[in-house]
Amino acid sequence: MTDERIYLSTDTPPAEPAVLVDDFTPSLITQANHHLCPGCGEPIAIRAAMEAIEELELAQSTITVFGIGCYTAFAHNLDVEVVQALHGRAPSVATGIKRMLPDGFVVTVQGDGDMVNEGLQEVLHAAARGENITCLLLNNGVFGETGGQMTTTTTLGQRTKTSIEGRDPHQHGHPILLSDLAATMDGAAYVARCAVNNAGNVARTKRYITRAYESQMAGAGFSLVEILTMCPTGWFVDTLEGPDYLQDTLAPVHNIGELKTP
């Protein structure tokens, strides 16, 4: 049965006059191929974060501080300066950098295991202290790098390799809503939560990240953007089901929206 669908050529740029509006990777991602799983949401979030740095012309004053998780694979793929920190400690490392380079632009990149498990004390103290840095939390509700174990943001009923029958509050306790917690800190100037499971949310993520950056540029104090990301491997779902799983499992608990603005 021949394929009647007519597919257009997508090997080479169009012959007709056209404007290139998107060129594979943003210029601040130097190494496109990475080893993160098919359908992973983290590269999408990191792309948005790098595009916003480029658009705000911050590339030459930016220092990113990476936590430890799947996204650590990107620490060597970026064309902005990077400090690789220990699991959970990025907000403290970022504090030391910002205090010595007040004109520098400092952004942490962390996962939920990194920030809400290991480094909860670091991020909350940085928020309470009003440290003028931007923390990005890539929240997929599991430890992705080690194969999908429960974290503090895993939602009730969510199955992981350490909550096989679903997270049970009596045994596993309740999820921590990091952005809501951070928003209660007087030192926090901008706190928002978004997701990358559809094009609309990706655009929203880009907007929120840009506003967080602008808050730091204005010296308004601590800013945090929590980005819900897909982890089909760690969720044991097909890549195609990732976006809906996020919508049905994480988003109802970790609500999307701006929680605090300057």
Partner: protein, 356 residues
């Protein structure tokens, strides 16, 4: 008129650190380290430096890590347990090839192994300097910042309650001098967008010619650096009266000063006693110790703990001379490391006992 001033050890060390160019300090209050934090908090703003009262030791060493990546001289510190909380970061800072000075104002001498064996995970060593009193601490603080920058590594100054809280007349360089130039490996964001932005990482790729994420290659390079450092750093040791000594007594730090004085007095009284006081606890002055004890019939090691440096002295003598431990833990009710046995008469008695 001499330029000496009567200063508390903690203040003298703080002034020496700032004079050496330290521009970032952080710590968490803990006796007897607290006063060093207080003096740094008072001094650093005078030179546009930053001192932070961190919310925990974990966060303190993290902040120092960040400050160090900007190429400015950074330091942190604590007491015993506080250092335990910092060990994970100290190990990784070593692999990230960052200069950092760490002050352990210890309680007693029980932290010798933690300091000299690399208290954190993995295969690494730190340079450890052990002053016996305030004037020596001023000099060793200057040296610590110099070695940290030269070798791009953490350097520890191992003090204690006596050092931190003893007032002594000491000459300290002015803190007005400019801080050293920021090295070119340091970060300030400017290499962003250049196609080869800098990265500082304990996982590699932070040093010339090192590609990222070849952990094997990076750890091998770190090991080579440690070996080069252990050969390149001059071991410091204070030796006296060993030429004709029958018994050589080994001790370090403030306790070493008591032991040294006891030996001087016993020498005056005609006893053939010598002393060896390691100042760099790592690299340990093995060769100097070996030569110093070669002519004696016995070595006695005095420490305010259950015996830790005694192992290194045994390794240095390699069985050439018997090595006996004559020290021991000594605590008053405060538990801050003030030892009732740390006095010249009691120490002299133990040395005489060992002479028999």
């Amino acid at each position: 008129m001499s330029d000496r001033v009567l200063l508390e050890g903690s203040e003298a060390i703080a002034r020496a650190a700032v004079a050496a160019g330290c521009r970032f300090f952080t710590g968490y209050p803990m006796t007897p380290f607290t006063e060093l934090l207080e003096h740094m908090a008072a001094l650093l703003p005078e030179v546009d430096g930053v001192c932070m009262n961190a919310e925990s030791e974990l966060e303190a060493v993290g902040m120092a890590w960040g400050a160090a990546t900007t190429g400015h001289l950074a330091a942190t510190g604590s007491t015993g347990q506080g250092l335990s909380l910092m060990q994970e970061s100290l190990s990784e800072i070593t692999n990230a090839r960052l200069p950092l000075v760490v002050f352990n104002m210890a309680r007693g001498q029980g932290d010798y192994f933690q300091a000299t064996r690399g208290g954190g995970h993995g295969d690494y060593r730190h340079i450890v300097l052990a002053p016996m009193d305030v004037p020596e601490a001023v000099e060793l603080t200057r040296l610590a910042f110099e070695l940290a920058s030269q070798w791009r590594t953490p350097v520890m100054v191992l003090g204690d309650y006596y050092l931190a809280h003893t007032y002594q007349a000491v000459s300290v360089p002015s803190i007005e001098g400019a801080a050293p130039e920021v090295p070119d490996w340091a970060l300030n964001g400017s290499s962003g967008g250049s196609g080869s932005a800098k990265i500082i990482s304990p996982l590699g790729g932070g040093v010339e010619g090192e590609e990222g994420f070849d952990l094997g290659a990076h750890y091998a390079a770190c090991a080579a650096h440690i070996q080069e450092m252990s050969a390149g750093v001059e071991p410091l040791v204070d030796i006296g009266f060993c030429e004709d000594a029958e018994l050589v007594v080994a001790a370090y730090g403030s306790v070493g000063k008591f032991v040294r004085y006891a030996c001087l007095r016993l020498r005056d009284a005609g006893h053939r006693v010598g002393y060896v006081r390691p100042i760099t606890l790592w690299p340990f002055p093995s060769e100097a110790v070996h030569n110093a004890v070669a002519g004696s019939t016995k070595v006695a090691v005095y420490e305010q703990n259950m015996g830790q440096m005694v192992d290194d002295v045994r390794l240095a003598t390699m069985g050439a001379v018997p090595v006996e431990f004559i020290g021991g833990p000594s605590w008053d009710h405060s538990g801050f490391g003030i030892g009732p046995d740390i006095n010249v008469p009691d120490i002299s008695e133990r040395i005489l006992e060992a002479l028999k």
